[in-house]
Symmetry: C7
Subunit: 236 residues, 7 copies
């Protein structure tokens, strides 16, 4: 990354604008996201698919405990890329929010409500001094009013709704793959394969064991993590 | 942007004046606004029109969820340009303010009251240390005492009332177009077309799908978002 | 503005003295005042006159809502030059102070009391770290014990009583005009014309529409804003 | 003022010592005092005299409202030089202190007690970060146990008792004049003339109108401001 | 360690990202861990083994009191590398957490729950200003639902589950040794020897006296520290 | 004072150590003490003597009010050198402490207890950010259990008990004089002369009027300030 | 001490790591300890011995009040090297802790418990901003369960148990002497002589008067300071 001395003047303090109106700390947090392995989200016709590529550097490490996919509520999950400790802090807030919603209103929290709450929290860390932005992006997927929905958030606290998206390493290439191959009426099963293949294209060493998958289907609205065997069956 | 070393000395701390009495951080926040796609507001004879151009970078993204137009109360809306996360934080404050007003006084909040509250909040972030100014401008449009009113605010917390105005990318060109074509007795329907054409002149790739429109008319005082089809019908 | 490197060393932190005992941030805030269009105050034999020149950069802007003249209480008004958002924050404090005075003592607040309260607030922002001085000067005019009084305040929190004064752009020239033409026994009507002409001399493009005028007369002690027509009649 | 680069290293932060044990910010605040017009205090045989030279830069300004002499309690007054807004903040504290003393002990506050309270307040602003010292010196004069007393304070929070002293512009020359001409048994009337003449020697343009005088005599212990005519009579 | 001037710009403040998205302070804290002598954790078929190499620089020092292995609850232990004072602060928090769990739920705390609590605490010190990250890594080993589990945490607040892992000096070499020699069905007794030999390979001066060992077996779920004699017997 | 650039790096922040383990701000505060005129304390066989040289720069100044000697309780006094405003702040704390002790325990406070309380307060200002050390040294002298005691404190919060000591300007020379001339069985009267002569040797312009003396004798344990005449009688 | 410019970059802020994982401020605090005169602790067969060399720079100073050895509870003492004011602050905390322990549990506090509490306090000052580490090391010696124990702590908050140790000036040489001459079964009386001789070897000017000694024996568990005569008898 090339940078000149003028840029340096504006990127050290967290909460100030550069002369051209940019917030460098937020942009650098996005770089932290790009350093993490990829995660993807796909909206299928009958559910949502969340996938996360987990690079396991050592055979003695237990891959199952590398956390990149999180359950937020029965019907909502999330996949992160970037600093996993930052992700955990955010997910804890969302889980409490979901519980409070069930206790207060006797109904499940909306997927978009979860996303907005997540982004409010992230925005706070971009406008105050003495803290840094969160170094993580999160894909939130869930069923809302019977419809599957997939959102992507980033360190600035922005969010967008997607049919299929990717965050982290090689996310641009993965999204291009989705643009070429995604179809609106894709069923959940095929969406798992689509997700796997899109990540595989730019990460040769992916295996079903290193690709964590969770699905929430519209019929049971129930967050379900697939086993490595189930993933293997779907992607081969 | 060319700048000399003297300017650099005064633009790093948030709340200090330069020798010529300028607040550089506020001016840089205005640059952040200019980096956002344009939004417009037009006061018609029988209502107000808010329009926002939304550039959708990827066909898999759901444009509807790119937020630039917000409902504040039944009879008041807003269109933003710049950091949308900053805008959301401000809009949340205004919505609560409107609810409190209804609860306390059993009447809808005034449009100008909303604008003043918005600017008080923005001003705070220009005079204290440890925070940055909001990186967003907001056009507020509503019906007050049966009359349509349109206001523009900026990161310094200033506001002005306009007959037709624009914020964000190419806002100067769009305003020139309004100066040439705006007429005092323009009805709401034609104001939508005027707004679309003014933005279109400096953004060739605009389409009815990428131009979000909301209208508040004087007869029902009811914030209404138009569908892409309704927009298309009005602008062709 | 020419400055040497030694001055730079003392003007970046808000609350420190330079070796020659100056507070540069306060002086730079005065520069911010000079960047604003002029406001004037004239003590007439039978009332006070407040005037403010409002440059309207665009014909689609509603000039009435450009705020430079404020009512503080029934019998007291103010005219500002500089950052209008800073002025609004101060005026809000003064209005509350005036209401509290009526509630507590069943009598109108004194004009000088208002001025002292205003200056206490401004001084605070020149002695603490983490804030900047207010970037605005305010002329306060009112009737106290049946007598018209006009005060000028500045960002340091200083105040002076005047017979006729000006703040903002070209204020030195306007004051010279007052020195040449002001007479002690001038009635309110003529004082409006005097004010207009003094500002006009250094701002060719002034018109009765762009010169906001408010008057408080001794007989009714009632803050009254003149219409553009009323102004035109008095100045021609 | 000549200074070398080593001094610069120690005068920017408020509360730190230089290698030779000096507090530069306090010394610079003393420079701010020297920039203000002179004030004097004289202990006469039958009372105290406070005098303040007020330079009125413009004939339209009302000199009476340029505050340099303050009443603290019935029997105690003060004269300031330097930042008048800083002086006002301190005087407000002393007035409250005097009222509290009367309410708590049913007796007037002692002059030295007032001075100590004043200096405690000033010292605080020399030892904490985030604030600047007060940019003002204050002469306090009053009757205590039937005896006239005159004290001088400075921005460090030091105080000294004097028979005749001066602060502000040309204070050294004025004090020399006192040393040559002051006599222990001078009555109050002659002390006013002594004060006027001492200031006049280094400020040619002084007039009885621009020299504010207050007197507290031992017989009635009552703070009294003299009119310009009364001053003229005594000094001619 | 080679570094260029650009890196220096981003590693002095605690909570900011470098342009490539790294948190240098966290990386330097990892260097502090590497400066500490090695600790290891091994998951055996019937328990967990924690080992810590303690270099005793002086024969008059009592090695027993060099703390690197800690009991957290009856069934959970920890081994640290890096700043032992930082480790103690964290362990105190975990012990209280374990006690609270027993008091609240009448059951032992889960090993993974302990690890998550530990990492939450560590993450806090990477996102706030005014503090530094913890300069320590901790291996946590315990029995959960009858199964042995071993986790490694680091200053960023990340954690991973391992079959056999090492932290501190030469940890990479020790892990390579584990990769070559670890077998899934290794009993606790042999795991002690495995751990000793792995550390010994890169630290010639290790002796049974300088290698502290604690074991938690699945049959009694009881944290037990081995004596130097017991260690000697197992490793020879 | 010569200093190199390396030293400069460590003396600007209050609470940090230099590489060789020094606290420069504390050392500079000691320089502030050396800039003040000397004070001395002598333990006589039948009491303690406190002396302070007061340079009166102007004959119109009332020397009596230059405070360098303070009564803390009936039986304890203090003499300061350095910033007198800092001394006053500390003495106020000690006086309250002494009163509280009498109220709580119905007995006079111990001299050493006063000294420890004084040093605790001074230490606080050497370990926290945002404040500077006290720029003053204080000699405390009193009668404890019938015995005279004299302590010296310094800006670091250290204290030492002395038979005869000096602080401020020329303190090293004065102490040498004490070493040559002090005798254990010196009575209070002669100790006053000893103190005067020791200070006189390095300050030619000292007179009995400018040397303030207070004595606490063992027989009445009563702090007594001597008049200039009493001092003159003892020193001639 | 030689240092390069890279080191300078990391040693000015208190709580940050250098690229190689060091905390420079803690290391500099250790330098402050080395600047203090030596203290030693020896575990004898029947008690503990604490010794402190006190350099008395002036014969008029009372050496007894130079504090380096402190009683913490009846059965526990401490010897410090470095900033004595910092030591006093820590000792005060430990004394209160010991009293609270007796009041809460009706039993004397453990020596190791005291040491842990001491180190927790010291660690706090190494991880937070706005404070500096304690510039002192403390040897704690006491009887616990009938056994003598000696611990050494340092500014990082680390502690080690020793048979014989030294802190402060020449501590390395003194420890080498202990390594050569210490024997496990040394009785308390001989341990005093051992301590004295070890310090004497690197400090020629030591005398029994300048070597403060305290002993806690196992039979009475009672902290006892030896007189200079008692010390002389033991060391000759």
């Amino acid at each position: 990354m090339i940078q000149d001395s003028q840029q340096q003047a504006y990127d050290r303090a967290i909460t100030i604008f550069s002369p051209d109106g940019r917030l460098y700390q937020v942009e650098y947090a996005r770089e932290a996201v790009k350093r993490g392995t990829a995660s993807v989200g796909v909206r299928a016709s009958d559910g949502v698919v969340l996938g996360a590529y987990k690079r396991v550097p050592n055979e003695l490490m237990e891959a199952e405990n590398v956390e990149k996919i999180f359950q937020i509520d029965e019907h909502i999950g999330a996949a992160s890329a970037g600093h996993v400790t930052d992700a955990r802090k955010l997910i804890d807030i969302l889980r409490r929010e979901a519980q409070v919603n069930r206790a207060s209103y006797q109904e499940p929290i909306g997927t978009e409500t979860v996303v907005r709450r997540l982004c409010d929290e992230m925005q706070k860390y971009t406008q105050q001094g003495g803290v840094r932005p969160f170094g993580v992006s999160v894909i939130v997927g869930g069923i809302e009013n019977g419809e599957p929905r997939v959102f992507e958030t980033d360190p600035s606290g922005s969010f967008y709704e997607w049919r299929a998206t990717a965050i982290g390493e090689n996310s641009a290439e993965i999204r291009e793959n989705f643009e070429a191959n995604y179809e609106e009426d894709i069923p959940t099963d095929e969406a798992v394969a689509l997700a796997y293949e899109a990540v595989e294209e730019s990460n040769d060493d992916i295996t079903p064991e290193s690709f964590e998958v969770a699905v929430v289907e519209t019929d049971d609205e129930c967050f379900t993590e697939l086993s490595a065997d189930e993933v293997r069956e779907l992607v081969e």
